[in-house]
Amino acid sequence: MFSSNLKNIVTKLNFQLFIVIGFFMPSRRPPSRSRLKIPLQWVLVVPFALQTLGVVAVVGWLSYRNGQKAVESMAYHLLQDVSERISYCLDTALQTQPTTGVRNWQAVEQELRDRRYLNQLDFSGSGTTFIVERSGALVAMPGLEKYLQLKVRSQPQRLAVVNAPDERIRAIGQQLIKQFGSFRDFNTVTQLKVTIDRQQQFVQITPYQRHYGMDWLIITVVPESDFIDVTQRNLWLTGLLSFLTLLGTTATGFLTAFWIAKPIRQLSQASQALAEGRWQQSLEDSWITELSVLAGSFNRTADQLQQSFEQIKTALQESEEKFTKVFRTSPDPISIMTFEGGQYLEVNDSFLKFSEYSREEIIGRTPTELNLSVDLQQEAVLKEHLRQHGTLQNFEYYYRTKTGKLGTTLLSMERVELDGQPQILTIAKDISDRKHAEQALQQALQRIDSYFEHSPLAVMEWDQTGRVLRWSTQAEQIFGWSARKMKGRYWQECGLVYEEDRDRVLAELTPLRSGLTTSCIMQNRNHTKDGRLIVCQWYCSAVLDEMGNLVSGLSFAQDITDRTQIEATLRETEARNRAILHAIPDLITLYTAEGTYIAPIQRNMTYDAIADTNLVGKSISELLPPDIADLQLRATEHVLKTGEIQVFEQEIWVRGTLQYEEVRVVPFGEEAVLIIVRDISDRKRSEIERELAEEALRNSEEQIRQAFEDAAIGMAVVGLDGRFLRVSRSLCDIVGYREEELLARTFQDITHPDDLTTDLDYSEQMVSGELCTYQLEKRYIHKQGYIVWVLVNVSLVKDRNNQPLYFVSQIQDISDRHELDRIKNEFISIVSHELRTPLTAIRGALGILETGVLDNEPATAKQMLHVALNNSERLVRLVNDILDLERLESGKIQLAMELCEVTDLLMQAVESVQAIVTQAAISIEVTPLQAKILAAPDAIVQTLTNLIGNAIKFSNPGNTIWVTAEAWDGRKVEEKDGRGDGDDCQNSKFGAADSPEAKIHNSPTPQSAILNSQTLHPIPHTPSPTSYILFSIKDQGRGIPPEKLESIFGRFQQVDVSDSRDKGGTGLGLAICKSIVHQHGGKIWVESVLNRGSTFYFTLPQLSRAEA
């Protein structure tokens, strides 16, 4: 199978060879059009025969025609001659007759007939002649006299020619009449042919006119048959000769053709044999020169052809072998498969290796069956393409091997005809590796891109002309221009490089651009988009192709503006350090850890113990006295071990003088130390004196400092610019700042803006000498933001030259005093207002009455009196309440405490309001308690009365008021009451007292409340209560808004200001209650639900049983 296929493939592949061969060999194929085949003999014979036949025919026809013409001519000459003889004869006859006239020609006629003249005329075998009149009457004819004799007795009777006895004459006469109508028109000699009984007759009609009316026509007739015999004999002879000629010619032609065609036929047969592959063909020599030459040529051609074919055959075999070898050994997989089904017919070893299948597995199967194709779509595309074009080049094909390995191959396919079947030759080129390489390359490129993008350096790429190809994100960040804007622009145009640097940059880039170098580093200034000027370090390199031509330029840029500035700063610092170093009057030397002298750094000391400068390499022990060297070595050791600088003093004799030196040993790396030596002799000598002075000063300063620090009021030393130079702890406490915070500020910073101008005015006046000191109440702003009122006393400290140095301020916190003032003013304001209101009414009412204007209106006058009286009472109550409250809160009245029965207290209170309760139609329910408390009974009754009175004021007729006393251990009211309606109790406020202390200790526990009260108003013999009596007064009134639950216990803090007038209150009742309860060490609060009622609670401590 393989071989046959292979052979076919070879055949196919060597198709061109066959074309070469075919050029020499006749095609086996029949001619496309069938033609009429004519043998060579005919080709040669027929023209000759036809030519001969033609010539003979022409000659025969000419001979016949000439014969005819000669006969005709001769016949007409004969007829002419006969006619003339008759005419002559008649003339003679006329002349011989002496008479004239008719009788004369009648005689002639008679004579004619008598003499039988016409009978005597012998001019032809069967010719005849006759004479007729114009009328057609027969004058004479041979044999006529016997017909005429019958009528001789009288006038001779003429016989009409058409009735002539002679059949021929009669026929001629009839014919002439028929042809010409009559005989009258024959005026000249007329010759014509007449056909009688299919016989041509030559006829001549000759008119014979003489005087006396003699007008006859002599008609002469000769039959053609008299001449034709000779002619026909000639014709026959000519035909015979022509036939013989034709026969001879044809025979000759046939013979010639046979002799010529024979060698040609042999040539043909030999060619055919050659075409069939029988190469040993040779033609016999011919006696015809041309054919001999042709045979020779043929023989030579056949020989050459045989040789050529042998060569081609050899080449073909070699080609076949080569292909087989190529197929077998090709590193590329090659396969042959059927065109229609796609089954593999043959594959090479590479294919087996590539597909990992065995030959047996592959042959007869399709790629799909083998699962070779990864993508069925590509299979369809392949087939379609092959079907349409028959060939396919470099098709990327994704395959899967037997073991599932995936890869890519380039397929080249060709539709070939093998054994008459369409098949596909496929050569695959496995490019998986290349693909992987491409992917790797792609990834590498992406990585490079990524590197570029993430590089901290700006990355840019330019083409040869300087146009931007790449502009990395970092480049965008450094220069501000976006990659989109920059790509395609020339760097020379976009103003990237600072103008002054441009020429230098161009010069530095020239070697790179001209290929002299592949990289360069330069530093130049660049513009950014936002107009900044930055310094960049540029690393430029040339990207070259394989030929070494410049493809592009790659630049990395780093913004080194900061570094440049730092370097500049560093240089400055170094210079400064050097200057400083030069200015230091010290000896600075460098030693190793072992004490070997390395280098002198600085030798500015006036007198140096080490005189020689060239001591490098010597040990410290050789240079200095042993004790000093030892000291320095130990210090060196310590310094290198701990890293701490060692400072010590040494005394050394230099040039006969004891020199005090301060030595500093400073670590210098890990293996060396700097030893800095300073001459402190002068300092040392003055030290004793100074130490004494300093001691005294220290004592003095300490005292001052102590005074300053421990002063109860704030102290500050303030610079002329207002900066705090020194502050005392008290001042820090007053303004809330730490000392260091305050020292970083000016007094202007913490002074209230409204007070600043005044303060500055005063200080300016003091600096200018107008004031010696000043005192000012002003506001500081505490660090927490609130205002602190202070009293400031400021004085100015001056130097000896009376120049101001600083301010000394004493600051006293007067916030409490200010608060008291504020409260007092507010109280006065309220009291003033509250007193003026009833006074206004009284004054107005009395003023009106006094004029007498109402004398006639007693009702109105009475109303005025009522107003005056009512407001007088109100005024009295108000004054009393104010006094009570004032006494209670100032502690001016000492509540007389005694043991009281709770029930008694309740009853007293209820009794005092009984009349009003009854009047208001309100019921009151009292729940008493058998318990004793230590209290001021009047005060408690007043408290209860106030609270019950309030409840009555806000109750409507029919409402109930509950007054309850019960033991209480401090739990929540709800729990105790068991009411559990949390929603209703949302306004509950424990510790509702509004004194500052109560606000701070806003706890419902009685303990804290007691402690507070005790703190405020200590009661000498207050026992330690373990439980409380809780009083509650509950009403069904309109309730209290939540925001007022606390404030109503303040002064003049009614829920509604008009209540004081409408309800007869002063606005101080609850404040008095609160004060009384607090005096007793209890608490007071209220719970309320709007429109449902309020419950006022207060507690009083209960004595323990033992105490009771």
Partner: protein, 124 residues
């Protein structure tokens, strides 16, 4: 005959002022017991002057005055404060207001009409 509106929360004072203005001035007096009612009355009726108390619950005199000024109808009506606030701080505040004048409580009922008239004159 002047038409006067008195806005004061104290019943007795309203009564006294009304009687005094009517008897000694012969003026027509309307009264309101709170700021809101006063504003309503001032908008509903044309008054020659409004006597306004300062310390009132809910809406004080300052607030009422502000609203009177804000309204195109009432802003042209002169307002005289009738107040028991006499401390320097209060006076400073009154001075900043564009009121026709201030009459302090207690006032003389016989002369109050003259006081009002004088203040209005001075204002014009």
């Amino acid at each position: 005959m002047k038409r006067v509106l008195v806005i004061d929360d104290d019943f007795d004072i309203r009564t006294v002022v009304k009687v005094a203005l009517e008897k000694f001035g012969g003026w027509q007096v309307a009264v309101a017991d709170c700021g809101a009612k006063g504003l309503e009355a001032a908008k509903a009726e044309q008054f020659d002057v409004i006597l306004l108390d300062v310390s009132m619950p809910d809406m004080d005199g300052f607030c009422v005055f502000e609203q009177l000024q804000a309204n195109s109808i009432t802003q042209s009506v002169p307002v005289i404060l009738l107040t028991a606030k006499v401390l320097p701080g209060d006076r400073r505040r009154f001075a900043e207001m564009k009121v026709a004048g201030v009459i302090t409580k207690p006032f003389n009922p016989v002369t109050i009409c003259n006081q009002v008239s004088e203040l209005l004159k001075g204002n014009t």
